[in-house]
Subunit: 290 residues, 2 copies
């Protein structure tokens, strides 16, 4: 059986706590952002790497959901008035615009906590093993924590109105976007019991598509329109943020995205299995319009 995007959507909702009148608002806040129509790139990476390393998608599904919960919570908190203060996300009002700030903080906290409940759930242990769940949870925590994704957000905040160079941008994105993409690829490997050589290749793939992803984001902020992107374009320039485009120019950026995508695809050569889905994913991220 192959796990479809619909299966991921259903699994994400299945791991939410059951209806409970007293905490209805926070459950709605969690559900709202978790089902707000993300691209599900990270869960797809978990499942593809699991398959590629000889594991099964069903076994990796709880890990895939956990990564997406972390991603979702980070968007809720990043959008808060005290952070990026964004009103729209994926063409819909942001969480705090609908539920208020307190519920958005708590909904984010609850999704972050639920990610670990999910990765350590009975289902996760049954399909994998306690050892694999511990390793997966630890990798997720490190990649999502102060040294990983949260650290990237810190660097981002402290770079505001600062003329950050490419090196600082790269360090920021390696944590802010890269770390969780890395976690996704590694969690697939862990579920399948892959060895260190395969994990290193997965990490290479992740690092290259992660950086390409961020550069494409910067390009789209300049070249897209509000409707296509689902959020206001031109926000980087308005916020006087350094971006790859402002540092390197748009042509150089497009070239770089091509090179990084090629490198990502090359890093898949060590795998014996069918890498076509991961090749397509890298190309789709390179060519995306939103």
């Amino acid at each position: 059986m192959s796990v479809t995007k619909d299966d991921i959507e259903q699994a994400l909702v299945r791991f939410l706590p059951e209806k409970d009148g007293l905490i209805d608002t926070v459950l709605k806040s969690m559900h709202y952002s978790l089902t707000a129509g993300g691209k599900r790139v990270r869960p797809a990476l978990v499942l593809e790497f699991a398959k590629l390393c000889g594991g099964s998608e069903e076994s990796a599904l709880p890990f895939a959901c956990a990564v997406e919960m972390i991603h979702t919570y980070s968007l809720i908190h990043d959008d808060l008035p005290c952070m990026d203060n964004d009103d729209m996300r994926r063409g819909k009002p942001t969480n705090h615009k609908v539920f208020g700030e307190a519920q958005a903080v708590l909904g984010g906290d609850a999704l972050l906590t639920l990610a670990f409940e999910t990765i350590l759930s009975r289902e996760a242990v049954m399909y994998n093993s306690a050892e694999k769940c511990v390793e997966a949870g630890r990798v997720l925590a490190v990649c999502a924590g102060a040294e990983g994704m949260i650290g990237g957000q810190i660097i981002d905040i402290e770079s505001e109105e600062l003329e950050a160079g490419v090196d600082r941008l790269r360090e920021m994105d390696d944590r802010k976007t890269g770390a969780l993409i890395r976690a996704a690829c590694l969690l697939g490997c862990i579920s399948a019991g892959a060895d260190d050589r395969l994990k290193a290749a997965a990490r290479d793939y992740a690092n290259n598509i992660g950086l390409a992803f961020q550069i494409v984001d910067d390009i789209l902020d300049v070249t897209s329109d509000n409707e296509t992107l689902g959020k206001p374009v031109g926000s980087d320039e308005q916020n006087k943020k350094s971006t790859y485009v402002s540092c390197l120019g748009i042509e150089k950026c497009r070239e770089l995205v091509g090179t990084l995508t090629d490198k990502a695809i090359e890093s898949l050569s060590v795998f014996d299995g069918d890498t076509s889905a991961l090749i397509q994913l890298a190309e789709k991220l390179r060519d995306r319009r939103k």
Copy 2:
């Protein structure tokens, strides 16, 4: 070797990420609140129950630190302007007053994430086992999540300006304060490999001291002074919050705290080991002045 309060303080800091220039502010924000002089009731409960069930304090130490990290993050987020909007905590300015709101949100997120990194750390697995770490992490996630501690905070927010009765207060506190105290007692049992009968007794002890703790909080908000308490007294009345005192009167509350403490101590009778420290702890919480 016996683990002292100083050992807990040192272990908490040891589990923090290493110095890193780029994310210095968030590390300082995490360190500030983690070392702000808490009573360390929850870590003490983890260690005492581990010992009582025939385990070791060293083995339970990572679990003890994880619970305290969750407690600390919850205080940081509860104090935020969009939540309780408190300026002082334990006699010091609250996290967002020192580091700003964005860093307080992220510092809290990072401590929450670090709790799971710690409970799944190599040290935790080495002293316990992967199976025990998975169980401990899952219990912690459930108790800290939407159905536990966060759910309690939700009920609290939604009860504002509402004439909440004792039943609602009890449901709120059972989650807001009780759930994490329950997690602490259970994590000690899990580290020691205790059976279900002992876990049930630990849960009873936790439920009774948890509720007593909250009622004492409400009493102190009426009877203490700012200096002793380290935060402004009278805030419940000012915020028109229902409390046990406003519902039952102060005499009835004092009586109830006594009964609950007695019940907590009774629940320890199933244990073969030395329960004197847990008896003392229950009495200390009953008699505390801050």
